[in-house]
């Protein structure tokens, strides 16, 4: 027997399926003491999963230099190249951003600081890409509601994305930079005939007057990201001393489509993405963080919806997990640190724990079809099923249900704890 996993109510008979179906969404009985919440928060904090939002009086600042930001605690968040789906970065890199959060009774604001050697805000030629920073929330969240797939969400689990764009910031600060502005010496246009298709079609990118540098978007899977105006989503970015300092803020209640920020209802799942224009980053080529949770400092809300890694992986042994990963042949499809000839069929897992939560990692090992990432090679286009085999319930002798499982529930958790350690 393993040490108590904190799942004593089900531990005796717990199959991993029960664990997967149960741990994620409703591990605790209906009434938990505040103390249990605090333990949970401590564990989340230790794993770097918590962002503390501080309550302030009066209007929330839009200016990154506002003195009010000093009240918020600063959190360092590791950022890793999105590597699950092409297009992605050619090389996996890991960097860091810092995040602060403030709120009051009607608004929520974030300050993100991202180091960037160059300011790229110009998109006025085909060869230039601009910097951008985004924050994502599940459109719906709470106890019993699974988190969307990281980044773009998945079917039935949409995300709300706020994307601040350096190019839009410059549009606001010094006017729309179109062809006339970019090419100061060009011969002026003789006639009034000028049809800009993107603008006529209503593309939000083509609009020459804007009021906010932040775009409100929703997505329900790869390729579904859709702009949807939200009048009160605002922000401001300043480039100074080799870093972007960007504020994004919005009323708690979305003005249009978007996530509701329920201060009193528990934790707010949150994720970040950063694009470096100098490296031609756009779309899926970006740095990404895993789901974390905002806790609202002044509220007495429950923390039940988030399961700390230490609970999901209680007693699991990452070293054993590492040898299991090698023994089961995972590396023939996945790249992993220290494996000379890592596979390239599946996603590179070198930083698996920086992008995915442990419950997702466990679920995807046991049930590869729970969320199928629709990337070429990852799934069979005809059946829609994942290319990854499941070892779940596989027995040494297929015809003998009493023969030992090839991979036990504990093995699955050992492997997950190894992947989770790759941060």
């Amino acid at each position: 027997m393993r040490p108590n996993t904190g799942l004593s109510s089900v531990a005796g008979a717990a199959t991993i399926a029960a664990l997967v179906g149960f741990v994620f969404f409703s591990v605790s009985p209906a009434t938990r003491a505040r103390a249990a919440d605090n333990t949970r928060l401590d564990q989340l904090e230790k794993a770097g999963d918590l962002l503390r939002a501080h309550k302030v009086d009066g209007v929330l600042p839009t200016d990154p230099d506002d003195a009010k930001w000093a009240a918020a605690s600063e959190h360092e968040v590791p950022l890793v190249s999105q590597f699950a789906v092409a297009p992605s970065a050619a090389k996996l890199t890991r960097s860091q951003i810092s995040v602060r959060a403030l709120y009051n009774d009607s608004e929520f604001a974030l300050l993100v600081v991202a180091a960037d050697a160059t300011k790229n805000d110009d998109v006025s030629t085909a060869g230039h890409f601009a910097d951008a920073i985004a924050v994502g929330f599940p459109t719906d969240y709470g106890e019993g509601i699974p988190l969307p797939y990281i980044g773009m969400g998945n079917e039935g689990r949409p995300v709300n994305v706020w994307q601040w764009k350096a190019a839009w910031q410059t549009d606001i600060d010094s006017g729309y930079r179109g062809v006339t502005e970019a090419y100061a010496n060009r011969i002026p246009r003789a006639g009034p005939i000028n049809y800009v298709a993107g603008k006529a079609a209503g593309s939000p990118l083509s609009q020459t007057s804007r009021t906010s540098p932040v775009e409100n978007l929703v997505a329900e899977g790869f390729g579904t990201l859709t702009s949807t105006p939200s009048a009160k989503l605002d922000g401001k970015g300043i480039y100074k001393d080799g870093a972007w300092r960007v504020v994004m803020k919005r009323p708690l209640k979305p003005n249009g489509v978007g996530a509701r920020i329920r201060v009193g209802a528990g934790l707010l799942p949150i994720t970040f993405a950063v694009w470096d224009g100098a490296a031609a980053e756009r779309n899926g080529m970006k740095g990404l963080t895993r789901w974390r949770f905002v806790v609202f400092s002044g509220e007495n809300a429950s923390a039940k919806q988030a399961t700390p890694a230490s609970t999901v992986l209680a007693g699991a042994d990452p070293a054993k997990g590492k040898s299991l990963v090698a023994a089961l042949g995972c590396t023939s499809c996945h790249a992993l640190p220290g494996v000379a000839s890592g596979g390239i069929v599946g996603p590179d897992l070198s930083y698996a724990g920086a992008i995915h939560r442990p419950e997702y990692l466990l679920e995807s090992i046991i049930k590869p079809n729970a969320i199928v990432v629709p990337a070429p090679g990852y799934f069979d286009p005809t059946s829609g099923l994942s290319t990854m085999p499941s070892f779940y319930n596989m027995r040494a002798d297929e015809d003998d249900p009493d023969s030992p499982l090839i991979v036990t529930d504990d093995d699955f958790r050992d492997m997950t704890s190894y992947l989770w350690s790759l941060r």
Partner: protein, 409 residues
């Protein structure tokens, strides 16, 4: 990746999406032998579609002087070298006409769906740079180029004009690369379009299209591409009373080198046998016209009659196997092909079907030692509903100016 069948390669290939085909396909034949590089096509396109701010550098239709000229500069040698690097010594056709090498989809690195590159701003700047720089070409003489460049009168240098528009590919690389599904192929005619509302200016299409035909509009910050003059192809231009019409670049062609139409497709994407569709006849029966760089794997739908005077090695790289056959078919055309070739540019309307009425023998000659007889047949062009559009003869009528106007200009 899914497996799809590419008839131009004679084999299945990888493609990010499952095989689906339009009911009809926009297609055209360009006769490179007759182009005079007047650029009327380019101007017809520009004055119709790309005259606005942000489109200054765009030539959805361009005509470049091969082998050196290109828009964007060096587009074809760049992607060819990328492919050669990805598959050293493997980019070959086998005897039976199957392509053994890698397509841009198969050679894609793990982090991309398509192998490609984003041209630099400078490469877009000039529509035909290097068109006349053959003296720079240090050749072994293998391609027929003199080492010292062009030297009259005994020069060996060669060039030809290559007319280029979007190929409205059957397996578009632009659509394959778009992470937003903002690019789509119309089921009714196979025209490939960028949804101006969904595009987010990522320029993955620019990077992926081996022909470099999607272009970023810096004014609207989204990408645009050749739209195949779809209102004309649909017949919604008032000029033809609802009958499908060829595109602006086709109908404006001074050299009368272009013929565009629609071919019916079977469910598996193969061309429906349509013996009297001029495109079907030229591509599938006479085999006089070939796709441009079929080895890229996108199944492009503009077919070229290769230039007769260009070294075969170069042409084979550009048009795949079948170059010799195509040139022979063009040099001494069959009685039917010769009649079909008269359909070029007699009308703006799309010719869906032709009939030939046999005429008398016009003359006899020898082509490369072989007897060649020309007949003055009449070819009749029909629109979609079976009505006649025009009829024309193989022999151009000789019109003698009456004496009283002999000096009139």
């Amino acid at each position: 990746m899914a497996e799809v069948y590419n008839w131009q390669l004679g084999r299945n290939m990888e493609y990010p999406y499952e095989e689906h085909h339009s009911k009809r396909q926009f297609a055209a034949v360009f006769n490179t032998n007759r182009c005079i590089a007047c650029q009327t096509c380019s101007m017809a396109c520009k004055s119709t579609w790309t005259f606005s701010e942000g489109q200054e550098y765009m030539w959805w239709n361009n005509v470049e002087s091969k082998p050196y000229g290109g828009y964007p500069a060096n587009w074809d040698s760049k992607i060819l070298s990328q492919l050669a690097e990805a598959d050293p010594d493997g980019q070959k056709w086998s005897e039976d006409g199957t392509f053994d090498g890698k397509t841009i989809f198969e050679a894609a690195p793990k982090n991309e769906r398509v192998l490609g590159y984003l041209p630099t701003n400078a490469e877009w700047r000039t529509p035909n740079l290097y068109e006349d720089t053959s003296t720079k070409y240090k050749s072994s003489g293998k391609l027929g180029l003199a080492d010292g460049g062009a030297e009259l009168p005994a020069h060996k240098a060669w060039f030809f004009y290559l007319q280029r528009i979007c190929n409205h590919c059957s397996y578009p690389a632009c659509a394959a690369a778009c992470p937003r599904n903002a690019i789509y192929k119309r089921p009714e005619d196979g025209i490939v379009l960028i949804d101006q509302e969904r595009c987010r200016g990522y320029r993955k299409c620019m990077e992926a299209c081996p022909y470099k035909k999607p272009m970023y509009n810096a004014q609207s910050r989204v990408s645009e591409k050749c739209i195949g003059c779809y209102p004309r192809v649909e017949g919604s231009d008032p000029l033809t009373n609802g009958h499908p019409m060829e595109t602006r670049c086709m109908t404006a062609c001074v050299g009368q080198i272009r013929l565009q139409g629609l071919v019916d497709l079977n469910e598996d994407g193969s061309w429906k046998e349509d013996r009297h569709n001029p495109l079907y006849h030229m591509v599938k029966v006479a085999k006089v016209a070939l796709p441009l760089y079929p080895q890229f794997g996108t199944e492009p739908n503009i077919y070229y009659i290769p230039p007769r005077w260009v070294p075969r090695e170069y042409l084979t790289q550009m048009f795949g196997p079948g170059v010799e056959e195509a040139i022979n078919a063009y040099r001494a055309p069959s009685r039917e092909l010769l009649a079909v070739m008269q359909l070029f540019r007699r009308s703006q309307e799309i010719v869906f079907r032709y009939e030939i009425e046999e005429g008398p023998k016009a003359y006899e000659t020898k082509v490369r030692g072989e007897k060649f007889t020309m007949y003055n047949d009449t070819v009749i062009a029909y629109r979609e509903n079976g009505e006649e559009i025009f009829r024309t003869e193989v022999e151009e009528p000789v019109i003698v100016r009456p004496p009283e106007r002999s000096n009139a200009i």
